[in-house]
Structure formats: structure tokens, C-alpha cells
């Protein structure tokens, strides 16, 4: 099997690291790769939707998992789907929406693989009710550094199970997983849109009525200041029943016509003014309080309609920053973060606020009880990095943490404080991978593994 040297990056297109890339199609080819002595270590790379250096491996090896994408079985009576880790959420929806099943949890893009969803322990709009994707995973098979294949579940190799969930690919290669799909009678959602004039009002709405909605998120205008600080549009809803939809086919696969961003936008396109204008407009076009029936595509995946939307941020790319604050400190933490952002004139084109539910047992899993805020920030110059460092400190001070799937700049000492169970992770990692066959740019940066 060929291995080629190639520059790789995540969805934020920063950083860019060169590595030796292979694209196996069978498990036997994976074993051959792990035995290849000329490549020091490996990391898996799915559809490249984590933003920073999670799936990168500078001067090491990268295993593309996209051709390990076979469905293995589906049990109609239990809704349990078994598939290889390279299967994408898009493929799953295309096959199962018409049959009346939906993913139990999905992030804001359907271009993620099952393996990536487990390794980053992804969450979605229903985190406050249903938890992360992994919480619906019954078990998975993992290829260890030795080539041995083990099954991991809550009862079998449970330590390894919880280390692999959110374990950013460092415990082994996830080969296949079994998880429970959710029955639906329509692929539409009844969405309730509500404007909140500021952060206070938004948090009030969230805490008063989030239990009425299975799906809940707020788009937040990061440019608003003063009394409007944190103004946002809440979008909360529930799956619609077939009779509410009144369509002949209540279960369509909804593909929006695709727009492609063919080239990198010049960096001046997204500037303070355009972002501010967009944010203000977006706030205004949503009525103060309204209900609407929307298809799953626009509800979950509005940005998937634009191919390569990451190119809008220009050649230097962007960072996405997502932090979670515990309930006790969230008000202060969020307020301070939004203030920092608007006073430093750092604009976020898209910012999302959401309440999150209890944390699970995943050792490096991100979500925990409280509120999470996600921001996109274009990289215009290097002054962004010290600014992000100061955000990390702010998050830590409020007892929060940042999401590794979106990170590219966190310092190792901050990582250790945010993820205090990291030693447990390292112990399990050393046990199953004593020679460091699995490593990544992120793992070395955060000193999860030794250099």
C-alpha cells in the first residue's frame, strides 16, 4: 500500500503539518501499517472536521479512515446499527432517515465519521437531554498498537472504553462500533425561535424552559456590547410527528443545493464591519418569538450547504474556540468572555451558546454540566495567540475547560488543570501502547505523550 508525504490540516486550516499519509481499505492493511518501522507513530484522520491539530501528526504517519466505511449490521427490532469507524454521519442519514431512524446525537456537521465522533466524544443540540454520542454507543472494536483487536464496552475492557471515548485517537484505532439509532416518524423539527435581548435574558430562558425542548441552542451576537451584551436568538425544538408535517413523505432525505467556496477569500472579506453587520442582521431577521417547522438539514447542518465554508476565513485559516463553564460560574464567565471579545475587537462570525448536561465517564471527554460557548475567530495576525491564552486563563479561573476537538493552542499546564484525570488516561495509554505507536501533534503539544 502506498504511503505519501502530504501537508495536512484540520477544518480551521491552522496549523498545517506534513505527515506520511496512508489510506487503508482493510483491517489487514492497518496491521501492516502499524508494523511499518520507518514511520515513528500514527494517528487516524477521518473527515478532518476537528479544527486544530487533533488528527495531525507532524513527521509521523496519518491513517485516513474514509475507505474503512462499511455498514456491518442493522437490527430492526432494537435499532442498533453496527458499522466501521470510517462511515460518515451523512451516509448513515442517507440510508436510515427514509427508514425512520435518526442519529442519537449529531454535531453541527454531518461530515464526521463514527470513529471521530467517539474519539472526540461529540455532542449536539440535545446534550442537555441525551448526553454525548458515546453515551449511545454499546461497544466498539479497537485495534491496539500490537495489532491485537479488542472489544470495549461498559462491562468489557471498560477502562479502555472510557479512555478511548474522547481519547483523540491515542489508545488505538477504532475499527467498528455498535450504537443505538433513534426512531423518528418525520425528519422535521418544530422549532421555537426566541430573541433574548442580553445574556441575562438568555440564561433565564434556558434555565426556565430547556426541559421542554429536546434540542436547544442559541446563536449569539458577539459584537453586541453594554446592555445588549450576549443578545441572541434561541432555537429550541422537538422532533415533529408525521401528522404535524402533513407531507406525503414525512421522511425525506434533505439535501440542500450546494454552494461551493472555490477559493480562499481575501482576509479583508470577513472584517469587523462585515461581521458586525452580519450579526446584527441575523439577529433582526429572526422575529421576537415564532414557531417554524424545519427539515433536519437546516436545523442541524446549516453550514453543510456551503462546501468548504472554511475558505471564507482566508488563507491563514481560523480557530474555533469552545469552552464550557459550570453552572455556578457561567454567568460571570460568559459575560467576561464576551466582554473580552468585543472590547478586543475580535469578531466571531458565528457563535453558539448552549446549555450542557452532566459529564460522562470519558476520561478526556469535554462536556460537563453548565453552559458552553463556541466561537470562530479568523487568524489575522499573531496577536490572536496571546489573546487565546488569556481566554484559557479566564476559563480556568471559572472552573471551565476547552474542547480539544477545536483546540490548536492550549498550553500543557492549562490542559492538565482542565482535564485533571489526564494521569489516569496516561496510565491506560502506557499499558496498551507502551511504545508510543499512537501519537499526534496535539498529544505532543499538550504533553499527553512524551516527545
Amino acid at each position: 500500500m502506498s504511503i505519501m508525504k502530504q501537508k495536512m490540516s484540520g477544518w480551521g486550516r491552522y496549523p498545517v503539518h506534513e505527515s506520511f499519509v496512508a489510506r487503508p481499505e482493510k483491517n489487514t492493511e492497518l496491521t501492516n501499517l502499524l508494523n511499518n518501522v520507518s514511520i515513528p507513530n500514527w494517528i487516524t484522520y477521518g473527515l478532518g472536521r476537528s479544527y486544530g491539530d487533533t488528527p495531525l501528526n507532524e513527521n509521523g504517519g496519518t491513517i485516513l479512515t474514509t475507505r474503512l466505511n462499511r455498514f456491518l449490521s442493522f437490527d430492526e427490532t432494537t435499532g442498533v446499527l453496527e458499522c466501521e469507524a470510517g462511515v460518515s454521519f451523512k451516509e448513515i442519514l442517507d440510508v436510515f432517515v427514509p427508514r425512520g431512524y435518526f442519529l442519537p446525537v449529531t454535531p453541527g456537521t454531518k461530515f464526521v465519521t463514527v470513529g471521530g465522533a467517539i474519539a472526540n466524544d461529540v455532542h449536539g443540540k440535545n446534550h442537555h437531554v441525551d448526553g454525548t454520542f458515546s453515551e449511545h454507543v454499546l461497544d466498539f472494536t479497537l485495534m491496539l498498537a500490537s495489532g491485537e483487536i479488542v472489544r470495549c464496552s461498559r462491562s468489557e475492557n471498560s477502562q479502555l472504553f472510557w479512555a478511548t471515548i474522547g481519547g483523540i485517537g491515542l489508545t488505538g484505532i477504532i475499527l467498528a462500533a455498535r450504537f443505538k439509532m433513534v426512531p423518528i416518524s418525520s425528519s422535521y423539527y418544530n422549532v421555537h425561535y426566541q430573541r433574548a435581548r442580553n445574556l441575562e435574558e438568555a440564561l433565564k430562558l434556558f434555565s426556565e424552559s430547556d426541559d421542554q425542548y429536546r434540542y436547544s441552542v442559541a446563536w449569539i451576537d458577539c459584537m453586541a456590547r453594554g446592555g445588549s451584551l450576549g443578545r441572541c436568538v434561541l432555537m429550541r425544538g422537538n422532533n415533529a410527528s408525521a401528522d404535524q408535517v402533513k407531507a406525503r413523505n414525512p421522511l425525506p432525505i434533505l439535501h440542500k443545493t450546494k454552494l461551493t467556496i472555490p477559493v480562499d477569500f481575501p482576509s479583508f472579506v470577513l472584517n469587523q464591519l462585515t461581521i458586525k453587520a452580519f450579526n446584527a442582521l441575523y439577529y433582526r431577521i429572526h422575529p421576537r418569538d415564532s414557531h417554524k417547522l424545519v427539515g433536519y438539514e437546516s436545523f442541524y447542518y446549516p453550514l453543510d450547504a456551503i462546501n468548504q465554508w472554511n475558505r471564507m476565513y482566508g488563507k491563514r485559516g481560523f480557530v474555533q474556540y469552545q469552552a464550557v463553564f459550570p453552572p455556578e460560574t457561567c454567568r460571570e464567565g460568559l459575560k467576561e468572555m464576551l466582554e473580552r471579545l468585543s472590547s478586543s475587537n475580535r469578531s466571531s462570525f458565528l457563535a453558539v451558546l448552549k446549555s450542557s448536561g452532566d459529564e460522562n465517564e470519558g476520561i478526556l471527554s469535554f462536556p460537563k454540566k453548565g453552559y458552553t460557548l463556541a466561537l470562530d475567530i479568523p487568524i489575522n495576525d499573531d496577536s490572536l495567540f496571546p489573546f487565546l491564552r488569556s481566554l484559557d486563563e479566564l476559563v480556568l479561573r471559572h472552573g471551565g475547560r476547552v474542547y480539544l476537538a477545536k483546540d490548536s493552542t492550549l498550553a500543557p499546564e492549562h490542559f492538565r488543570e482542565m482535564y485533571p484525570r489526564y494521569k489516569e488516561f496516561q496510565a491506560i495509554k502506557n499499558q496498551v501502547d507502551p511504545n508510543g505507536v499512537f501519537s499526534s501533534s496535539m498529544a505532543r503539544r499538550l504533553k499527553i505523550v512524551e516527545d
Partner: protein
């Protein structure tokens, strides 16, 4: 198209064709050398499309098994409406230059074995007066180049064989399609240097199925390879022989 036999079913192009045919409810027989890989592919198609799929072992290199293999395929589905030959073997040009056995291997897989199995299918379909034969040849067979002329000559021979077969079967209503893919993003091409305009297997599969339905004779896919190869074929030999291609 109700029942189709795909040879070399685990190749990248074959998998894409299989998915598209299974989506239409075609009864598929997937044949190849590794039962494990075939079963995995078949399992995938069954989950995706709830369709009937059978897997069969097929070893192109053992010609004497071909007739019995074809008969057992027929026994499974009643009769075969079509056969799509997707297997191929790039081999190693340098090795083939020094090792006649390796050269023979490349030629046998890409050419002589195809003659054997496709004749069996052709005789059957000719007798019935219907059916289609489709085989994946290569643009490499259009002109010999120093970098892969052993593979290229075997594919070129396959194209000429198909041409003759098409001529023979024209009056019996059996169509014969020669497919000449350009660069396709499969295991065979992954990591190779100097490739351009690389097509997705799904795109190539769509083109192939459409060409089968329209009873086309020769398909270049993506289409522009017809023009690229036309230009390459027009270069005078006196010039061509000095190029490093």
C-alpha cells in the same frame, strides 16, 4: 438489468458500481479472491439497500475453474443479464522487465484470464440472444509507454479482444462495453505521483452504468480522457519514443 455478476468486486470502481446497482434492487453476485472482503462488502450492501447479494470465490489465474464458476453463478440467479469485469493488476514494470514470470502474471490477469472467463459468458449470452459484457480496460492500453508498457500492452490486448467480441456478438443482441478510465481515486492510484484530474469512483460508476444501459461500445471516463488520449495517440512515434512518459 436484474442479475449481474461483478468480477473483482472489491476493487474501488467495482464497489462503487455495486452500490449503485444494489440501490436499484439488482440481484448481485460479487466475486473475487478474498471471501472475507467480499462478505464485508456484501454485508454493507445488505444493510444499505436491503437487497439480495451473493458472494463467490473467483481466481482469475486458474483458468480451468472458470467454467464451473460461471455455471454456479448462473445456478444462483437463474440467468445472468450481465457481467462486469473489474479486476486488474498493475504489477511492477521494472520487475516485469527482469522477471518473465512476473510479466506473465501481469498479462494473465489483465488479458488471458479475461479471454477465458468472458468467452464463457459470451457463449452463454450469445445462445440466449441477450445480455451485456462490460470490462474495465485502461487508457494505458491506448499507447505503450516506458513506465508501464507490460500492463499497458495487456490492457491494449484486452481492448482489441473486446472489439472483436463486440463485432461477433452484434448480431445476437449482446452488447459489449469497453471502459477506459483515466485516473480514478482508488487503492491502485493512491499516493502515486504525477496524477491529474483524478476522478471519484462514484462518478466513474455512474458513467459506466449509463453506458451499459445505452449499449455504448467504448467509454472513456471521465469523458475528457477521450480527447486526452486522442492527442497522445496523435504524437508521431519518432517524437513519442524520445519522451519520458
Amino acid at each position: 438489468m436484474e442479475s449481474v455478476l461483478i468480477l473483482g468486486a472489491t476493487s474501488g470502481i467495482a464497489q462503487a458500481i455495486a452500490r449503485k446497482l444494489a440501490a436499484r434492487g439488482v440481484n448481485l453476485i460479487l466475486a473475487g479472491r478474498s471471501m472475507e472482503d467480499l462478505n464485508r462488502l456484501a454485508g454493507d450492501l445488505k444493510v444499505r439497500f436491503n437487497c439480495p447479494v451473493t458472494t463467490m470465490l473467483f481466481d482469475a489465474a486458474t483458468f480451468e475453474t472458470h467454467a464451473a464458476f460461471y455455471e454456479s453463478c448462473k445456478a444462483i440467479v437463474g440467468q445472468l443479464d450481465g457481467i462486469i469485469l473489474c479486476y486488474g493488476y498493475m504489477g511492477d514494470q521494472r520487475k516485469a522487465q527482469d522477471d518473465g514470470q512476473h510479466a506473465k502474471e501481469v498479462i494473465d490477469i489483465n488479458f488471458t484470464s479475461c479471454v477465458s472467463i468472458l468467452h464463457i459468458a459470451a457463449n452463454d449470452m450469445e445462445q440466449r440472444g441477450k445480455g451485456f459484457i462490460c470490462a474495465i480496460s485502461s487508457v494505458a492500453g491506448d499507447r505503450g509507454r516506458q513506465s508501464n508498457y507490460v500492463y499497458g500492452s495487456a490492457k491494449g490486448a484486452l481492448s482489441i479482444f473486446l472489439q472483436g467480441l463486440r463485432n461477433r456478438l452484434a448480431k445476437s443482441g449482446v452488447s459489449v462495453l469497453t471502459v477506459k478510465p483515466g485516473f480514478v481515486d482508488t487503492r491502485m492510484t493512491f499516493g502515486q505521483k504525477g496524477l491529474f484530474l483524478v476522478a471519484k469512483p462514484e462518478k466513474v460508476a455512474t458513467d459506466i452504468i449509463r453506458a451499459i444501459e445505452k449499449k455504448k461500445n467504448v467509454l472513456y471516463t471521465p469523458f475528457f480522457w477521450r480527447w486526452i488520449m486522442l492527442i497522445i495517440k496523435m504524437i508521431p512515434e519518432s517524437v513519442f519514443k524520445k519522451l519520458s512518459l
